[in-house]
């Protein structure tokens, strides 16, 4: 089997250039590619377009890339919880394209699946519909939405093998599988990297065909946004 292992995040991201379009997996701070984000900070590439459901918090996740002004544009569904984000948006330093969460997920899925456009009921009659084709099917109105693709997709999984097969854990799966398929170059960081052949082929969430580079990440913080406990 083809071995896609690289040493770490710096090697994996070595050819990312300024102004790249990148996707980053995760929902809130759950399932985000912590090591790859650190490597982006070290590399200092600027003018990034980041496709990610959220924008992190001020001092973690994509929030760190906002602090260093490396992000030109965000394509997201929800960007609360972030004061620096708010400041850059209001000052015009940051472009933001807000996309309904299901439409975002499906546009990314379409990008990986070779589907340039599809129709969805989401957003009909709202601001989201502005400039978009509306068409009726079976008596209901739908919007046409287009695919999203990226130069690099940065995803995070729980276990992965050297052939690039990935298994996610819990709700840390979220946007990672679609992004893995929608990146020209997909870089997967995993908590545990094991030899090809040790994962059950029937339990794989992302087949290795979508992954170009894989490495075992280090020092995951896995910060929790709302630590809610039952008494």
């Amino acid at each position: 089997m083809i071995d896609k292992t690289v040493k770490g995040a710096d090697e994996a991201l070595q050819d990312i250039q300024d102004n790249a379009v990148i996707m980053l997996g995760g929902f809130g701070l759950c399932g985000i590619p912590e090591n790859s984000i650190q490597a982006l900070l070290r590399k200092g590439v600027k003018g990034l377009t980041c496709i990610s459901n959220n924008a992190g918090v001020d001092d973690f996740g994509i929030g760190l890339l906002l602090q260093t002004r490396q992000v030109k544009k965000m394509i997201s569904s929800y960007v609360g919880e972030n004061a620096e984000f708010e400041r850059q948006l209001l000052s015009g330093e940051l472009e933001v394209d807000l996309v309904p969460q299901g439409t975002l997920a499906e546009r990314i899925r379409a990008g990986g699946a070779g589907i340039p456009a599809f129709f969805t009921p989401t957003g009909v009659g709202t601001e989201v519909a502005e400039g978009k084709e509306v068409r009726e099917f079976e008596g209901k109105q739908y919007l046409m939405e287009s695919w999203l693709k990226a130069d690099f997709a940065l995803v995070k999984a729980w276990k992965g093998d050297t052939a690039g097969n990935l298994i996610y854990k819990g709700t840390a799966r979220n946007f990672n599988p679609m992004m893995a398929a929608a990146g020209k170059i997909t870089i997967a960081e995993v908590e545990e990297l094991i030899p090809a052949g040790e994962l059950d082929p029937n339990e794989i969430h992302t087949p290795g065909i979508y992954v170009q580079r894989i490495f075992e990440g280090k020092g995951y913080e896995k910060r929790i946004e709302q630590r809610t406990i039952r008494s």
Binding site: L29, S77, G80, Q101, A105, P121, T122, T126, T171
Partner: protein, 219 residues
Amino acid sequence: MALDKTGIAKRIAQEIKNGMYINLGIGIPTLVANYIPDGIEVVLQSENGLLGIGPFPTEEEVDADLINAGKQTVTMRPGSALFSSAESFAMIRGGHVHLTILGAMEVSETGDIASWKIPGKMVKGMGGAMDLVASAENIIVAMQHRSRNGQSKLLKECSLPITGLNCIKKIVTDLAVLEVVPEGGFKLLERAPGVSVEEIMEATEGKLIVEGDVKEVQI
């Protein structure tokens, strides 16, 4: 006496039927889970990729990789399933979720809902709300009847940017239970204990339809 948040949640819980798959929004809707009657089996969906949300975890059970759409740590009930965001919204868009309960800033008498944006103030984004309201067959809004400065939130037309068009069927507020009727208008189904029809009428800017005697909410 107007209903408090718990009262609104308890009243909404009466709408839940056995076997339903339900998506609960943040705030009052989340509370509804606590009042589902015994003997009623439902499955709660979290749009970030979980069917079968359980109670909050104990200190020992906390898992950063298991959160709900409000980013709170949760647990899973026996029989749960995990999946991607694309699969999650395939469920929602495909009409597999039977009931959506969510908050709103405004609802119009034709069932439009505004809940995601206040122009000029911070825009946080619509998250999954637009997908939910565009797709669910049955949507209940949980909200206060009036805003903090006393203005009605049940309007002829929404003044804020809308989240979805003609989609709300039922509204439970601190003052009343109302149905949005197909021809337009809020039909008053129930009033909060001790709240008069006149009070509700005064608090409702949109067309209020009152037929016969309006009974009190029983919770």
